[in-house]
Amino acid sequence: MLRVMRPATQARSTCLLISPPRQRILQIRFASNETAAKPTSTTPTQKRKFKLGKFLFSITLLSGLAYGGAVYYSLKDDKFRDNFTENIYGAKQVVDYVEDLQRQGVFYDMKKKVWRIGSKYINLPELSEDNISSDKISEFTSKENPIIRKLSDTIRELDNFMVNHDLKHAGGKILSRARDELRNLSNNIDQLKADEQDLCQKKLEEQNEKYNQIIDKYENSMDQQIKDKEFALKQQFDQEKRELYEQHYTQLNAELSRQASEHDKELKNELVRQAVDMQRRWVRDVMIMVEKERNGRLAKLDYINKRLKTLERFCIDNTENLDASIKVHRLWCALKSLQNIVEQPHRTPFIEQIVAMRRYFSTDEVVSAVLSTIDDSVAINGIDSVSDLSKRFNTVREEVRRASLVPENGGVFSHLLSFVLSKILFRKHGLVDGNDVEAILARVQYYLNKNDLDTAARELNQLEGWPKKLANDWIISARNHLEVKQAIEVIETQATLSCLSIA
């Protein structure tokens, strides 16, 4: 633009040197030039519109063309092919596919078609015909022999390969030679096959003849053997039948004779029985007659005998009953005296009663067992009454209280401490819960007030340690008392039972 302007300014400066009318014309011309130059200076500053579709389409087309060109070149050049297939994605599959198509001769067919169509319109040079057409080779593919087929395939592949790599002229002769040799080979094979077949056929017929002869011979011998066997079997059968018949006849005879003897025996038995029966009847009849004659004296004697026997039995029974009742009475007396003694307010020995009872009732198991449970020492000393025990319990309670705080292995000081501190312990009354000494003592007192010695003794037994040691004697005494009472109860029930069983 500046350049445009410069010559204009230069022109204007020069036209000043020229005559004024020419000057004016030149000025007008340059002025219009300037104005013409001005509109073009504005367009470069405008932005061009950006078309996306067109851009993408052109990019795709260019890259496709580049890809196709690269594939074609890789078919020709091995080094380029390696590079291409290694570095570009999907190149290997495409190149392999194209090579397959080439091997199958697709391109060659297409080329021929195009050439044919094209030669109609334009004068195209003829396609080189000195490659072996696939028809010639295909005559071998129809042969059955798989080896020849494979060989023909290989030769055809080789041909294609050579065509593709433009090695036609070099190997054409060699290839035709191969083709001839292949043909010879196939003919040879066919010939061999035919010969072998004839030979086999002849051999088979010979064998057939031989075997037929052998079979006939054997058939005859078999027939003869069968006939002989039949005759022998028939003989055997007749003989067996005869033997069976004889056996059966003898068996029958034996059976008959046995049965006859048995029958005889039966009859004899029957006879004997009848005889015995008749004898008995005879004897009875005789007795009856004699009886009648003696006015039935025999029967009377018998009668008296029987009565006597019954009387004897009665007598014996009576005496037995009396004995038993005496025994029971004695038991009752002894029991009563024992009970009396036990109920005494103070300790009284009852050893004599026990001894007497033992003597009387050595036969009675229950009583003797019960009496054996009572210790002799207890019997000699007697047992304490409940009131005695209650009174004794008071002292026991005080002692237990004093020793209630002593630990398991306490020494002098622990005893002393317990003695002193127990004075300030609270006293419990009534039926209280708890396992401590005071509670137990309260409960025992409660039970003693109700005269329940059993539960009281049980409760006191729950003490532990020193308190238990102190209360031990009392517990033993209470136990003796309870045992003796229990024994007396058992004997009482036993006595009642024997009383009732007599009556």
């Binding site: 004794r392 002292t395 026991v396 002692e399 237990v400 004093r402 020793a403 292995n409 306490g410 020494g411 002098v412 005893h415 020193w466 040691k469 102190l470 209360a471 031990n472 004697d473 009392w474």
Partner: protein, 87 residues
């Protein structure tokens, strides 16, 4: 009869009787021995009396302890394991 016509509730009382009587006797003996020793050997000092009395009280205490807890032998501890070690 386990304890000579003595009922079980009197065990402790007996023991206490024995203890107190023992104490009196042993203390008395200790005192007298102390007085004699102090008079004869120790030149009328006062400390042997006290020492001897102390011995007497100590001996009576030991015997008392023995009656109340016969298993407390000095230097022996009973481990409750259904097997006792003693002696």
């Amino acid at each position: 009869m386990s304890v000579d016509k003595q009922s079980s509730e009197d065990i402790l009382n007996e023991k206490w009787d024995f203890c107190i009587s023992n104490l009196l006797v042993k203390t008395g003996i200790g005192l007298s021995v102390g007085i004699v020793a102090s008079a004869l050997i120790f030149k009328r000092k006062s400390w042997p009396i006290a020492l001897s009395t102390g011995f007497g009280i100590g001996v009576s205490y030991a015997e008392c302890q023995k009656t109340f807890n016969p298993t407390a032998i000095p230097g022996v501890k009973i481990i409750k394991n259904s097997s006792s070690t003693s002696g």
